[in-house]
């Protein structure tokens, strides 16, 4: 087997701290190689070295039998190595088609021709994206599709996918996996980074696992199962904490009804949806992208506004409420933990303490007129301990934290507001398995403490194993309620699709 890419003894240091250390990695033609590890394990750094985004401190990179050192991602792309980033690198102010052909335009371009060929290309990939739409108007999932399409369009020999399925629905994932198999059949080599271990086990031919910047395991996929992967990734077994089946007696009983939503509507996105939320219980909400699940709860939290005419009723403690700003909802004890932490959840360049203090400011719960840095530091220390936020030092910016710790900051920012109802939207998206277990523990503790918890998620194992009741959302309304004791992934998907 002649590897297309071979990396030998790759080391990359940031400020003399090694992100990857003496890692060997290779990929053959027509192979899908899964690269797994916790956040901060060095997966992204290793693939960035391969794609020319960063230069290695030491080590050798061989591509098609020749030793290479890419000076830029563009150079790697022209050589045939493309990387699909977790955070998309599209130009928001351009259309989908323009983004697809960016860098490979002709001297003279007919916009109509560009759109037609982009449409045909997207259809061939089974991606339902309008080529004339501006990228800034697209949701996270569609942006990811465009990013994937762009890599495929460049006819790369090696494509690196960094968390490609995090924002895709199960149906879209099936299309995506079919695409991967097609690319593989065409001889394209694929590096597949994912936190969803089932996906790696399902799609890959080979698995390599990194921990703390070092390779800890590598071999054919048939030699691995969920347990061995998790054990290699975190050095201990976690699956019992994350994936557990519960019968009816293990589910929390509903407490007092705190929130009742009746027939709320918002344009075509939310249509006459009705549900209640109870204290001391985790209400799981599942729905495909576009089912209106996020929008529904954004209305509850005052972020989006329901229709002015016949927009339905929301009652909090049996009193009707209509929020015009999120601050009103926060003051009433409703907190929404966003699915898009980078743009809506955190101030990236601020410290943990400053972010948490921002939460207090939003809830009008800070005391006095003067903001004392000692208060901010104390807040960071208290919540850092409570939520087990791992950081180099107290002054570290949130952007420097791993995805899991960033998510904990977002959660902490909500919890400092002392809410009664906490709405988690995709609480573990882009978070590694160890952090998933910790976040699940936090969510469970909140419900045990008597808070009403809502968890919107498109990750079915999470919905099944964390919720005390499951609501399924389809076409803008809650269509079905299931008990986790009797629900299966198939039952939930049927209700979500039909």
């Amino acid at each position: 087997m002649n590897p297309v890419v071979k990396m030998e003894q790759i080391t990359k240091n940031y400020r003399s701290v090694p992100a990857v250390k003496n890692v060997d990695f290779d990929i053959a033609a027509g192979e899908i190689h899964a690269l797994l590890g916790e956040n901060g394990a060095g997966k992204s750094t290793l693939t960035k070295v391969m794609a020319g985004v960063v230069s290695p401190t030491s080590g050798k990179l061989t591509y098609l039998g020749k030793e290479v050192q890419f000076a830029s991602p563009n150079e790697a792309l022209h050589a045939g190595i493309a990387m699909v980033f977790q955070e998309t690198s599209l130009v928001p102010s351009m259309t989908v088609a323009q983004n697809l052909y960016l860098g490979s335009e002709n001297f003279l371009n007919r916009l109509r021709g560009t759109y037609i060929s982009a449409q045909q290309f997207l259809q061939s990939l089974n991606f339902a994206v309008d080529p004339t739409a501006m990228v800034e108007t697209l949701g996270a999932a569609k942006r990811q599709m465009v990013e994937i399409a762009r890599a495929v369009h460049h006819k790369a020999k090696v494509i690196i996918f960094d968390e490609p399925t995090a924002t895709l629905t199960p149906e879209e994932k099936r299309h995506f996996f079919a695409l991967l198999r097609r690319l593989k059949a065409d001889g394209v080599s694929i590096v597949f980074i994912s936190h969803a271990l089932e996906e790696a086990l399902q799609i890959s031919d080979r698995i390599t696992i990194l921990r703390d910047g070092e390779k800890v395991a590598s071999g054919p996929t048939s030699e691995f199962d969920r347990e061995t992967i998790i054990a290699a990734m975190v050095g201990r077994t976690l699956s019992g904490e994350i994936y557990r089946h519960r019968d009816e007696t293990q589910l929390r009983k509903p407490g007092r009804k705190v929130l009742s939503v009746q027939d709320i509507s918002m344009g075509a996105m939310v249509r006459n949806t009705a549900f209640s939320v109870f204290e001391g219980q985790i209400t799981g909400v599942f729905g495909l992208i576009g089912s209106g699940r996020t929008e529904t709860f954004k209305i509850v939290a005052g972020i989006d506004k329901r229709d002015f005419l016949r927009g339905g009723t929301i009652t909090l403690d049996d009193k009707p409420v209509r929020y015009y700003t999120p601050a009103e909802a926060v003051r009433d004890g409703i907190v929404y933990v966003t699915e898009d932490r980078k743009s809506e959840g955190i101030f990236e360049t601020m410290s943990i303490g400053e972010n948490l203090f921002g939460g207090l400011l939003a809830a009008d719960k800070e005391e006095g007129f003067v903001i004392r840095t000692s208060d901010i530091r104390a807040l960071a220390e208290e919540w850092g301990k409570r939520l087990n936020i791992k950081t180099i030092n107290a002054e570290a910016q949130v952007v420097e934290l791993s995805g899991g710790n960033q998510q904990k900051v977002v959660i902490g920012k909500g919890l400092v507001q002392k809410p009664r109802i906490v709405i988690f939207d995709e609480p573990t998206r882009g978070v590694d398995v160890a952090a998933i277990a910790e976040i699940h523990q936090i969510i469970n503790e909140l419900a045990d403490a008597g808070l009403a918890v809502v968890m919107v998620s498109s990750y079915l194992p999470e919905i099944l194993n964390l919720s005390d009741r499951i609501l399924v959302c389809r076409q803008g309304r809650i269509v079905e309620e299931l008990s986790p004791a009797e629900a299966t992934e198939e039952k939930i998907m049927y209700a979500a699709v039909h």
Binding site: Q262, A274, R310, G312, T313
Partner: protein, 345 residues
């Protein structure tokens, strides 16, 4: 917002349907419950001593666990309500507006001809629900579609005449008297009210369906039968006056967009969204004109749990429920059967 009541004058008041969750969480218990007896149009249940009686169209039948239903008596018109007094008196109301006690006709006040429920209080007084001044019991759909509130509740103390206790009720369909007053289910307003001392006070509002008859439970609470669910399409039709009267004038009553004791029996029935069955699976959550729903109420009248037959079930049109010899007995008029459920408290 404080301006909302004012704004509602212009933007219209939101008519909302409460979700089926909490105590109303859907299940398929009624479809899994054993059938005690197959009975066409099983409607009202009552326990006369240790005998279990049920009405079925014009027939009064006795239900036995180990034998088919045995006809007791036949009448000229359909039986609309039954009640058994502690002294063994059996009171029967018919769709022609007559009332009899042990076969003896009882004089009724003027305008009382739509007797939907009867019940004896602990003091021996007979309570009577008159569904509407404008229609007989069999005309209940028309009464709903006309959005009438012409019902009343009457009480007859032992040895006295009937006295009106409450008026302008929207189809009173269930009675549960106690020493001080009476709990009444008001179908078209989807609520339970308490009639006491000449006043009517809501006890349980915003029910997700059309409540029917009530019965006492052993723990001091109550059982409530709900014969049809609330439905967006029907709610819309109820708001569209012109369309509604046009429909009533030109469409056969069985095919009106209205609640029903049973549905899905004819292709002429109105469909909503067409999404009833997909890939061969009848969706339990598809919109339906009928359902089976029995609700257990705590002594403070808060719902505690419920038994369902959903859109994909058959035991619909639950009109009556009683506790009989430690078991819960349910009459499903649309399902043409009488069910018996284990105690689930």
């Amino acid at each position: 917002m404080i301006f909302d009541p004012i704004l509602e004058l212009f933007r219209g008041r939101a008519i909302t349907i409460p979700p089926m969750d909490g105590a109303f969480r859907p299940n398929a218990v009624l479809d899994e419950t054993p059938v005690l007896a197959e009975l066409q149009q099983a409607d009202n249940l009552c326990a006369l001593g240790d005998r279990l009686l049920a009405s079925s169209g014009t027939e009064l039948v006795e239900i036995r666990a180990d034998a088919p239903p045995e006809p007791v008596q036949s009448f000229a018109a359909a039986i609309t309500a039954l009640a058994a007094a502690p002294d063994g008196t059996l009171t029967i109301a018919l769709d022609d507006g007559t009332l009899s006690e042990n076969g003896t006709p009882v004089p009724l006040p003027k305008g009382v001809a739509c007797i939907t429920a009867l019940a004896y209080g602990p003091d021996g007084a007979l309570w009577l629900a008159n569904g509407s001044d404008l229609h007989p019991v069999s005309g209940w759909v028309a009464d709903l579609m006309e959005k009438n509130a012409a019902g009343s509740v009457w009480r007859r103390a032992p040895g006295a005449d009937f006295k009106v206790m409450a008026k302008k009720l929207a189809w009173p369909f269930g009675l549960l008297p106690d020493a001080k007053g009476c709990l009444v289910s008001e179908s078209w307003r989807h609520q339970l009210v308490r009639v006491e001392g000449g006043t009517v006070k809501p006890v349980l509002r915003h029910l997700p369906g059309y409540p029917a008859r009530l019965a006492a439970s052993a723990d001091g609470g109550a059982w409530l039968a709900i014969f049809a669910p609330r439905n967006r399409l029907i709610e819309m039709v109820l708001q569209e006056t012109h369309y509604r009267f046009d429909m009533m004038a030109s469409v056969p009553r069985d095919y009106w967009i209205a609640p029903s004791f049973a549905s899905g029996e004819s292709f002429l029935e109105p469909l909503q969204c067409g999404g009833i069955r997909t890939m061969g699976v009848h969706k339990a959550w598809s919109p339906s004109r009928s359902c089976g729903l029995v609700v257990r109420l705590a002594p403070d009248m808060t719902p505690t749990f419920s038994l369902h037959s959903r859109a994909n079930g058959k035991r619909h049109g639950t009109c009556s429920v009683i506790e009989y010899q430690g078991r819960t007995v349910i009459a499903a008029r649309g399902g043409n059967c009488i069910l018996t459920a284990e105690d689930r408290t």
